[in-house]
């Protein structure tokens, strides 16, 4: 890396419309980009699809970032926790315990529940005033209700749960002490919830994990159990909500694509996949890793120095070496091995759940509200300032 080049602020600048900035396709001219995280601390962004794909599966990039890697924001280490080992072999033992609940069979059994929740939310939306904010009316409630159902969070706790998560994930929006307060209250709430499940187990994932940890505490200690529940609740909510809302905004901004999809609903799975590739909700902040050794990139000359903080670029979904016409939204794309869910052993645990929700939500919206459209020009949709995700604060729609 040349030291005289000025680091780029990260997240990168966005295009004003629900489009991908042209600049993302030329990021890969440099395989490794010096960037500055929202905390002001330095990191390196790996830009090329092939490098990113390989490095997701490279154990020289550690997920144990706490206390040694740069921080995402000054006040918030996000998922960093010194008591949790995110590297193999320990990580794999814990992950295996949790993943049994995310098999295709288990996810498909949930599809009927998701369909029902989608139907209820759309009934309420259809009966209400227009325009309405798609995020508040649909995109936020759906994944909260689904993940709370799956984990067994009681209905009366869901509003509180959401308030705490929203605060906790606010990277630079809230003052430091308020973020910390949300984090503390959220952790205390989970302690109470898990204790209640120990007393009265239900037909839910928390109760299942408690049972496994009781049978064999070496697989999952109490602390690790609570950590996984915390992470699953967060991951199951905000990411899906953001992808759902911004994905619909991207689609509705292109009425011809929306019409094509409405006319042939068998395209919903490939359209959802393409909107995931095209995802403009996300940043690569969630891929934060720490290099425990020097790592050479595929060009044979560029090296990630040992001790670097590394982000694996989600923008590599726009790498023209991997995707044909990457800036085009093609809802029929068949060669679509996007990296939105990552790769390697940390591949998103909830990917199949998220896909299923996105499919049901997309089909439900298009069928129940066939006239659905953006109520403001796509170019005017606002992005949040700060925050872990980069979706839209509000998506006004009519039908």
């Amino acid at each position: 890396m040349s030291g005289d080049r000025c680091p780029v602020g990260y997240p990168l600048a966005w295009a004003p419309a629900p489009d991908i900035p042209e600049g993302w396709t030329t990021l890969r001219e440099q395989p490794l980009l010096e960037i500055t995280l929202p905390s002001g601390e330095p990191a390196l962004l790996v830009t090329r699809y092939k490098d990113v794909r390989r490095l997701f599966a490279d154990e020289r990039l550690s997920r144990n970032t706490f206390g040694r890697a740069s921080r995402v924001s000054a006040s918030n280490d996000l998922f960093g926790d010194p008591r949790i080992d995110n590297d193999p072999p320990r990580y794999l033992t814990e992950r295996a315990v949790v993943m049994r609940a995310f098999s295709a069979r288990r996810i498909e059994a949930l599809r009927v529940v998701v369909k029902e929740i989608v139907g209820q939310l759309l009934d309420e939306m259809a009966a209400g005033p227009q325009p309405v904010d798609l995020m508040e009316a649909f995109a936020y409630p759906l994944p909260i209700l689904v993940i709370c159902h799956m984990l067994g969070v009681p209905p009366q706790d869901r509003a509180k749960f959401r308030r705490l998560i929203d605060g906790f994930l606010s990277v630079s929006r809230l003052p430091e002490d308020e973020v910390e307060e949300c984090r503390r209250q959220y952790w205390d709430y989970l302690t109470e919830l898990i204790d209640a499940k120990r007393e009265r187990p239900g037909d839910d994932l928390i109760s299942e994990l408690i049972e496994i940890s009781r049978e064999d505490p070496t697989k999952l200690t109490d602390y690790q159990l609570q950590h996984w529940v915390k992470t699953l609740l967060i991951a199951g909510y905000v990411t899906t909500a953001s992808q759902l809302g911004t994905g619909m905004a991207v689609l509705l901004h292109r009425p011809e694509a929306a019409a094509e999809l409405k006319a042939d609903l068998s395209l919903v799975p490939s359209a959802v996949e393409e909107l995931l590739r095209y995802q403009i909700m996300g940043t690569s902040l969630g891929t934060l890793r720490y290099a425990v050794e020097d790592i050479e990139l595929l060009d044979g000359t560029t090296v990630i120095p040992k001790g670097s903080t590394v982000l694996l670029s989600q923008e590599s979904n726009m790498d023209a070496d991997e995707f044909e016409n990457p800036l085009d939204l093609d809802i029929r794309r068949t060669e679509n091995h996007h990296l939105t869910f990552g790769a390697g052993i940390h591949f998103c645990a909830g990917a199949a759940l998220a896909r299923m929700e996105l499919q049901e939500a997309t089909e439900g919206l298009l069928c129940r509200l066939p006239g659905l459209r953006l109520a403001v020009p796509g170019e005017e949709l606002k992005r949040p300032e700060g925050g872990f995700l980069a979706g839209y604060t509000e998506i006004p729609v009519s039908w």
Binding site: R54, A57, M99, R100, A104, F341, I345, F347, A351
Partner: protein, 76 residues
Amino acid sequence: MGSLRVSAERETCVTSSLCVYRLPQVFDQDEEGRVVVLDDRPPDTLRDELRRARRGCPTRSIQVEGLPSEEGDTTP
């Protein structure tokens, strides 16, 4: 019967479920959500989907004999 031979590495499987959704007639999962091969000699008509399943596996846990390997299929 075709010339393709499919195998999968249970130990490295991370339950992405991508192969099961893509080719439910070839791949399944056990109680723990780990990959199981249902049909290790699938018909040649499934070539393209098998190639995509192999390519898409996040931990490269799928092998297909009789299908030329592509750049990035086997590494790491």
